[in-house]
């Protein structure tokens, strides 16, 4: 179960590039490729271990003019999908606290 105060960080060993609003992620050995839509790409770019899930939700509300409860539900669901695919990790501490 994802906690909204957890920090979100992209997994190491993944290469990614941005083409317009689309992020493309490729695994280190090139065997897996993922393509993210506009909102997913926005979340991905924010996932630098400096922001929490809550922070991401707030920024989505600002950027896409969407209500918080909808943004919260969709973001949690999407982050869980990225965790399940080993694309991002969640942590209790930000890298800024190290």
């Amino acid at each position: 179960m994802i906690s909204s105060d957890e920090y979100v960080i992209r997994c190491d060993e993944l290469a990614w590039r941005k083409y317009d609003d689309e992020v493309v992620i490729i695994s280190e050995d090139g065997s897996q490729i993922h393509s993210l839509n506009k909102v997913a790409s926005f979340i991905w770019e924010l996932s630098d271990n400096v922001v929490t899930v809550n922070d991401i939700v707030a920024r989505i509300c600002d950027r896409f003019d969407v209500k918080k409860d909808i943004a919260q539900a969709d973001t949690m669901k999407f982050i869980q999908q990225l965790v399940d695919k080993n694309l991002i990790q969640l942590g209790k501490h930000s890298c800024l606290n190290d």
């Binding site: 290469a15 990614w16 590039r17 083409y19 090139g30 393509s35």
Partner: protein, 342 residues
Amino acid sequence: MEKIVKRIERICTEKYIPFYAIFELTYRCNLYCRHCYAPKDQNGELSFGEIEPILDQLVKMGTFNLIFTGGEILTRKDFFDIAIASRSKGFFLILMTNGTLITANIADQIANLKPMGVEISLYGACAETHDFVTTVPGSFDCAVNAIRLLVDRGVSVVTKTVLMNSNFNERKEIEDLSNSLGAIPNINAGIIPRRDGSLLPLKHDLSFEDMENCFPEEIVSANFKQSADPAKRIPCKAGKAVCCISPEGDVSPCLLMPANLGSLREQTMAEIWYQQGNEFLNRLRTPEAYKSSPCANCDLLKFCVRCPGIAYIETGDPFEKSPNACHYAEWRHQIYSESNKA
């Protein structure tokens, strides 16, 4: 996965995003291959300190694939500094090398990079033939040793063979040798002029008779499945999804199209790649330009596998008729006509 890659390639071609960057790290080489197309002049290679910001620029622009070539890339003492920095920035690497400088230690370092592949030149199935082409005794043994060392470490190795009049009758043996070493053979015919326009390498090219002896008819006939639409016939990514950077930092549309678009010592990659008002680049990126080329209405179009880069080297114009392409198209036409008479 293939669908996503093809889609990204298409986006990059349409939006001129250099998905592939061919980075010539040096023109220095320890071999002197008879057919070599690369120039030999040295005017001051980019240092590692100059290369690293260029890599960052390529990341921002969307480049995923870096092809390191030369000269011989391992003559650079800082090669692994460059390669490690590239991997840390998420690039996928393909290394092109003659293999002669690959020891066990170097092979370990290459394996640690986890490159997408290493391409090693193999010009013969025996030392006599390979070393004749490279003009350096012992180069065959070193290349074969390099292939073994890398394959043993799990690196994907492709052997690259250009067939010429001195090695074409070993084609099958070269293929067998490559397979036996655990590599993938990539064997092609067709010597190209040197990038400075010199036609000297062409004296090593195959005659029509050599080609007929060398290639089974099914390979020849496969070349006839070409579209008659010139815009589709030349689906070249040069200047669109492909870019090339010389050892001195000059940017060109492709390795085989050395038209200088600008210097990375004076401008950023984005400034060069997206410059307005560069007639050459604009024309290269205009689909209609192909339709008005002399090749558009050629009777041999369906037999022609044309490289705009080679046309540029030969004539100064990527849209002009390429004597090299015409030569091979006439040969295929001849084969096709004879096989249809029978």
